[in-house]
């Protein structure tokens, strides 16, 4: 009996906890959405983040009234928090696409219970990210000029500029992520429609389910559509942050103009994305008692991915230092010196602590399985990735080739309030999502059941035969 089961199945934690049936999985997940009472903790958090959303409104309002001068940006640091936060948020979104597209194509079934959650995270992170360049325009209502629309100026956008590529990369990314997320939701909306107790719920979920009846034809088409979207989304995982890194790499500023930028940025994006998934998922898992559906296997795997991508990011840091020496140019060499000992040296040291030292703990299985430690590490990584973008943007712009054009960057209170506002907006949307949309794909979990039951039975049988031998 035991010969038929690969040993890995037995040694690993299961993807679904023992004792679950198709019915219990449906009930467990859908009851979070369909329950009528409002949990106090959820409501409190919603109220808190709602206050943050109002702060966002105030920050944007003040910005539009007075112009971008309310921020700390000025020559030579014409990009400040706006680009830092843009890159940070876009990076956070990357876990969603990686989990949903690449891991799907690689048949990593453990992705199932975390993909919806991280896809939603991707969507909200892209929304937050998109706000920054739009607000940086100063006149966001003219943002449609970014697209090549026919107009009375007979002008196209500057296609040679990476900022233009960004527009296409991010908008494509947002669209495909939204489609992917929604297509995956359709069968679950149908389940909720059928389980909803009142008419309003049935109609709303019914509209969202778009007439899904679970017919064989529906499933066949669903599979094709989902696979096609996964294929479309796969290059996006790599392309979006590559294009974002071109914003820097294509310019000639010392410290930006390096070939390591694209892979280094992509790895950093996935790294920060997984950190954010852990930051959000660990409390949610505890609060909604989802330990059976998001098992230690998931958490362990995410820790490993963070470790790998973190090491790639560290390689990027090493290369930046190396290029500073190897380029043999005064400006590049000074950039490294300035990074280590200049005005932002504190941020650079913090970055090394957060992204070089802290993730080394993930080598240890004990750490990867300690929820509290992992939670703390994930937050440190989030901070570290923000510091990384701060260091890249600010140190390089503050001190470029000409000492006569040097200048310092000091963020204002409005920089911070907008940043905190977007974080609140993100949490606000996540809270709404957790409450009103099934955060774990119900039908995909059900499809995993036969396998996990076979595994569990086999394991049990294995044990019993072992016991009988003794």
């Amino acid at each position: 009996m035991s010969a038929n089961i690969p040993p890995s199945v037995i040694r690993r934690d299961p993807v679904i906890g023992p004792g679950h049936t198709a019915g219990s999985v449906i009930d467990k997940i859908s009851s979070i959405v369909l329950s009528r009472d409002i949990q106090r903790g959820w409501f409190l958090l919603l109220a808190l983040s709602g206050m943050g959303v109002m702060l966002l409104g105030v920050s944007v309002g003040w910005l539009l009234t007075r112009g971008v001068g309310v921020w700390g940006i000025n020559e030579p640091v014409a990009w400040g928090f706006d680009i830092i936060n843009f890159v940070w948020w876009i990076g956070i979104g990357h876990a969603g696409t990686l989990i949903s597209a690449i891991l799907l194509l690689l048949h990593q079934e453990w992705r199932t219970s975390i993909n919806r959650f991280s896809e939603a995270m991707t969507l909200f992170a892209v929304m937050c990210a998109g706000m920054f360049p739009l607000l940086h325009l100063g006149r966001p209502w003219l943002a449609f000029w970014l697209f090549p629309l026919p107009n009375t100026m007979s002008m196209w956008p500057q296609f040679r500029s990476p900022l233009m590529w960004d527009v296409f990369a991010v908008s494509t990314y947002g669209t495909v992520s939204a489609l992917f997320w929604y297509v995956g939701l359709i069968p679950d909306f149908a389940t909720l429609r059928d389980k909803a107790q009142n008419k309003i719920g049935r109609v709303i979920f019914g509209m969202a389910a778009m007439g899904w009846r679970g017919a064989t034809q529906h499933w066949a088409r669903y599979e094709v559509a989902y696979l096609l979207l996964a294929g479309l989304a796969t290059p996006l995982v790599v392309s979006v942050h590559t294009v974002v890194s071109f914003d820097f790499a294509v310019s000639v500023i010392p410290g930006w103009h390096t070939t390591v930028m694209p892979p280094y940025f992509v790895a950093g994006a996935v790294y920060s994305g997984f950190a954010m998934v852990l930051t959000l998922m660990l409390p949610v898992r505890a609060a909604y008692r989802l330990q059976d559906l998001i098992t230690m296997r998931h958490i362990d795997n995410m820790g490993k991915i963070m470790l790998v991508t973190g090491m790639i990011v560290v390689y990027g840091y090493a290369m930046e230092l190396f290029f500073g020496w190897y380029a043999g140019s005064t400006a590049e060499g000074f950039m490294v010196h300035n990074r280590l000992f200049g005005s932002a040296a504190g941020a650079y040291k913090g970055l090394l602590f957060c992204n070089l030292l802290t993730p080394q703990l993930l080598w240890f299985k004990k750490v990867r399985r300690s929820l509290w430690l992992l939670f703390v590490i994930s937050i440190i990584v989030n901070i570290g990735m923000w510091l990384e973008r701060y260091v890249i943007v600010v140190t390089c712009l503050e001190r470029d080739y000409l000492p006569s054009s040097w200048g310092d960057f000091h963020p204002t209170i409005w920089d911070w309030s907008l940043f905190i506002g977007t974080i609140s907006f993100f949490l606000f949307m996540m809270l709404l999502f957790i409450r009103f949309i099934p955060m774990i794909p119900i039908f995909e979990m059900r499809s995993l059941l036969p396998k996990s039951q076979a595994g569990a039975k086999a394991a049990a049988a294995d044990q019993s035969t072992d016991a009988s031998k003794h």
Binding site: L149, P150, N151, T152, M153, S154, M155, R193, D194, R202, V203, G206, M210, G211
Partner: protein
């Protein structure tokens, strides 16, 4: 379980896909077209002025040269509007009691300018200089239309950026000899059509195709 939606929803949901696309497409098209209508561009729209000054009468009928009133057009960025004194060179002796001219006399007596409504008003972020255009052989009529036939001043061109660029990209299509700039009725001759003449003028006046952003947005 009872049926949740009426069966007409099958058709409705499919129709909504097509309709949604149509509405979105129509909205964009409408906005694009609306931007080129006289409602927005004010082409062919005459507006009320403090005095209904007729270019048709003064230029077409009496044959007064553009520069008699717009004195600085050859030497400065602004063509400039004439002071009331310029009007009074004639109107202190003719039509001295015309009711229509009362604001002119008031302006003269009280030493307060007439407040004309600027018809060809470029946005402040666009730099424009009349004198260089005249030096390079752009006729008044090319931009302002046949002013000698306008009872009331109106735009004949949109002043949109695409309109500026149409000439900045291909100046040879619009140039005329310098001595014909103030001629309202000039047309290229049959012996030397615009294609040939324009190319020659571009050569001899050293006209550049200035399409850099900073040419106008300084």
């Amino acid at each position: 379980m009872t049926q949740l939606f009426h069966k007409s929803f099958n058709t409705l949901s499919k129709a909504s896909i097509v309709l949604g696309g149509l509405v979105a497409g129509l909205t964009v098209t409408t906005v694009l077209f609306a931007n080129r209508t006289p409602y927005i561009s004010l082409v062919d729209v005459s507006r009320e002025q403090p005095v209904p000054f007729s270019h048709k009468h003064h230029v077409g009928g009496l044959g007064i040269d553009c520069r008699y009133c717009h004195t600085s057009v050859e030497t400065s960025a602004q063509a400039s509007l004439p002071s009331t004194k310029t009007c009074m060179t004639c109107h202190s002796s003719i039509w001295t009691n015309a009711a229509m001219l009362e604001p002119v006399r008031q302006s003269y007596m009280n030493d307060r300018s007439l407040e004309w409504l600027k018809v060809h008003d470029l946005p402040d972020f666009a730099y424009f200089n009349h004198s260089i255009h005249i030096k390079k052989g752009v006729g008044c009529q090319t931009c302002h239309g046949q002013v000698d036939q306008m009872p009331l001043m109106m735009r004949k061109n949109t002043l949109n950026m695409e309109w500026c660029l149409s000439c900045h990209r291909e100046p040879e299509k619009f140039l005329r000899p310098r001595e014909e700039v103030f001629n309202m009725n000039w047309k290229p001759s049959h012996e030397k059509p615009q294609a040939q003449l324009g190319a020659e003028l571009v050569e001899s006046y050293q006209v550049q195709k200035l399409t850099n952003c900073a040419t106008c947005h300084r």
